[in-house]
């Protein structure tokens, strides 16, 4: 991580965007002019000095709801990504280091989970489980962990073959020592890029679930719920639903810009034969 590529303008835009989002989510009470569910005007009022982005489908301030929603979106996406990494990386490294039947069992189980498209899997499970935030976080984390497992196992499998790991093994170090001291430090940079991608994906996934009405449940609202609440206005020429949608898109673009920047180091080795 010490040798990140030099900052590009695009990467800077991405970093600033992500930082702004985190600040917005962290200091929501300071930024939001109104409480989340306070009715401040009529249905779908035009933007005014009081309601910067207009009002929503039952007259609440859209800007305030957007700010509060940032917090929900961020907390759920970040929590599920963190849990997914905890599970995925440790199991992935474990499988790669232990090899043999442990690897076989874990990998085949993972293949099985990945044989069902993510959203379909989530929908099937959410049909039965209670609809609350904890369940949502755990379902998202489990599904993402399969992808993290695959990537971290591939990274670790490459590293395990290298001489210094072999040396540690011959020296009689335990597998846990090898994972923490030899594999992890050398896998950090690709894992960091993966973390960004997973976070972006978690935001999209959460928004999609909420948009379908199966994610965050009212009265709490994330950005996807805001789109769902206001979508009916679209046909009357009221574009309130597009604002939270644009916010999601902007945030994901920013995260992707940062990821592209981190990945540049590895991809620029290939195909950079021609300048021009």
């Amino acid at each position: 991580m010490r040798n990140l590529p030099p900052l590009t303008p695009m990467a800077l835009i991405g970093l600033v965007g992500v930082a702004a989002f985190i600040v917005l989510a962290a200091f929501a009470p300071w930024f939001a002019p109104h409480p989340v569910s306070e009715v401040v005007g009529g249905v779908w009022d035009a933007p005014s000095a009081d309601a910067l982005l207009g009002t929503d489908n039952i007259g609440r301030d859209l800007f305030s709801r957007l700010v509060w929603g940032a917090r929900i979106t961020f907390v759920i996406a970040a929590l599920s990504t963190a849990i997914a990494f905890l599970i995925g990386v440790s199991l992935g490294f474990y499988a790669a280091v232990r090899r043999g039947w442990i690897d076989q069992i874990l990998s085949r189980l993972n293949d099985l989970m990945m044989a069902i498209p993510t959203l379909i899997f989530a929908l099937v499970v959410l049909a039965v489980l209670p609809k609350n935030m904890l369940v949502l976080v755990l379902v998202m984390a489990t599904l993402e962990a399969t992808r993290v497992f695959r990537v971290s196992r591939a990274i670790a499998a490459d590293l395990v073959g290298l001489d210094y790991v072999e040396v540690a093994r011959l020296r009689g170090e335990s597998w846990s020592w090898i994972i923490v001291r030899e594999i992890l430090p050398n896998a950090l940079s690709p894992l960091l890029a993966e973390l960004g991608l997973r976070f972006a994906f978690a935001i999209l996934f959460l928004s999609t679930l909420s948009f379908l009405g199966l994610g965050v449940q009212p009265p709490i609202a994330d950005w996807g719920s805001l789109v769902k609440e206001n979508k009916d206005g679209l046909l009357f020429g009221i574009f309130a639903a597009l604002i939270p949608g644009a916010a999601i898109a902007a945030l994901v673009i920013c995260v992707n810009l940062v990821v592209d920047w981190i990945l540049r180091k590895t991809t620029s080795l290939k195909g950079a034969r021609r300048n021009g």
Binding site: D111, A115, V124, A127, V128, A154, G213, L234, I248
Partner: protein, 344 residues
């Protein structure tokens, strides 16, 4: 089994995905490979059916109470349990369910009492039609863009394509869909905002109605496909024989077209297969946005109603379609790359 590769748009995963698992083939005929792949697919499908069943039946939370809500009377719960056969142990229920499902009998929907198989058939047709229409547009377009961006690697063409596709990846499907509606249906009255099709509709009108959902779906998969095509091509461009061709003085387009592309064909086919997952996920959301009567809308509606039999059936159908498409992609990529017929 290598399992069908499924990623969420990771360029790095290109290296990790193996087109076919290394398996010992006695005769190297395509047929034996095809049969093996089909059998593996069936095995996988069976395992998936187990997962889906377990996911809806064994997870904490009783199906009957979750269907009725918290304030259900004990009698109502008991009658549902009986109707769903819940008083039997789970393994027996699973065997019964699977046995009926193989013969095309998914039982009756809990919420509206309709035969599930009968409701699924026309919806599946609609969904496949929409997905196929999107694929026909998206696949050639994204491969073309991928080749263009490698041809003009590092120039403004490459950067523009890169930026546009990055944005396309980042747009949630519903945002892309509503943007299209806002422009084509609300601002101008060019295309209808809802895609309620029926069999009685003449084919021309049907295609017009499906245009917006199709475009949304294309937007959803285009970026991933293009970026991964580009990565696969660039991977090949790093080979020594490309350098030889370059040093021998061949023109750049000829190197890309004649030397790189044939060798990148198999990874590109894999890229297309990987993105079938986006197509399937995308189709669910797109159908909800445009009120298109397909499998996705059917599934989402019944998840909200907690109609477990329907959810199981729809989930199984989606998984089956996905596994089948992956097998097809595998076979096509073997056809495109004879080296895969002789596993190391």
């Amino acid at each position: 089994m290598g399992g069908p590769p499924l990623a969420d748009g990771i360029d790095t995963e290109i290296q990790a995905m193996s087109p076919l698992p290394a398996q010992k083939t006695s005769g190297n005929s395509l047929w034996s490979l095809l049969v093996k792949r089909l059998l593996l697919g069936l095995l996988l499908l069976w395992a998936v059916s187990l997962v889906i069943f377990a996911g809806t039946q064994i997870l904490p939370g009783d199906v009957a109470t979750s269907m009725l809500g918290q304030q259900a009377t004990p009698e109502a719960v008991a009658s549902i349990r009986k109707e769903l056969g819940l008083e039997q142990p789970a393994p027996i229920r699973y065997v019964k369910w699977l046995g009926a499902a193989v013969t095309g009998d998914f039982g009756r929907s809990y919420s509206n009492r309709q035969d599930i198989a009968k409701s699924i058939a026309p919806r599946l047709k609609n969904t496949l039609l929409l997905a196929a229409m999107a694929a026909v547009i998206a696949v050639p377009l994204s491969i073309l863009l991928g080749i263009l961006s490698v041809l003009y690697n590092g120039t403004w063409v490459d950067r523009t394509i890169g930026l546009v596709t990055l944005s396309a990846i980042s747009l949630p499907e519903f945002f892309a869909g509503y943007l299209l509606i806002a422009y084509f249906s609300v601002a101008h009255f060019w295309l209808p905002s809802s895609a309620t099709v029926s069999d009685a509709m003449p084919i021309g009108q049907r295609l017009v109605v499906m245009l917006l959902p199709c475009l949304t779906l294309v937007l959803a998969v285009l970026g991933h496909m293009m970026r991964m095509t580009r990565a696969a091509l660039l991977n090949v461009m790093a080979s020594p024989y490309i350098e030889t061709a370059l040093l021998k003085g061949l023109p750049w387009w000829r190197i890309v077209w004649k030397h790189a592309l044939p060798n990148a064909l198999s990874p590109i086919i894999n890229v297309v297969a990987l993105n079938l997952a986006y197509l399937i996920v995308g189709v669910v959301v797109v159908e909800v946005i445009f009120v298109y009567p397909g499998m996705g809308q059917y599934l989402v509606d019944h998840v909200a109603k907690r109609d477990v039999p329907v959810v199981q059936a729809a989930g199984l159908v989606f998984a089956a379609v996905y596994i089948l498409l992956n097998i097809v992609a595998d076979m096509v990529s073997v056809l495109a790359n004879p080296r895969l017929r002789h596993p190391r």
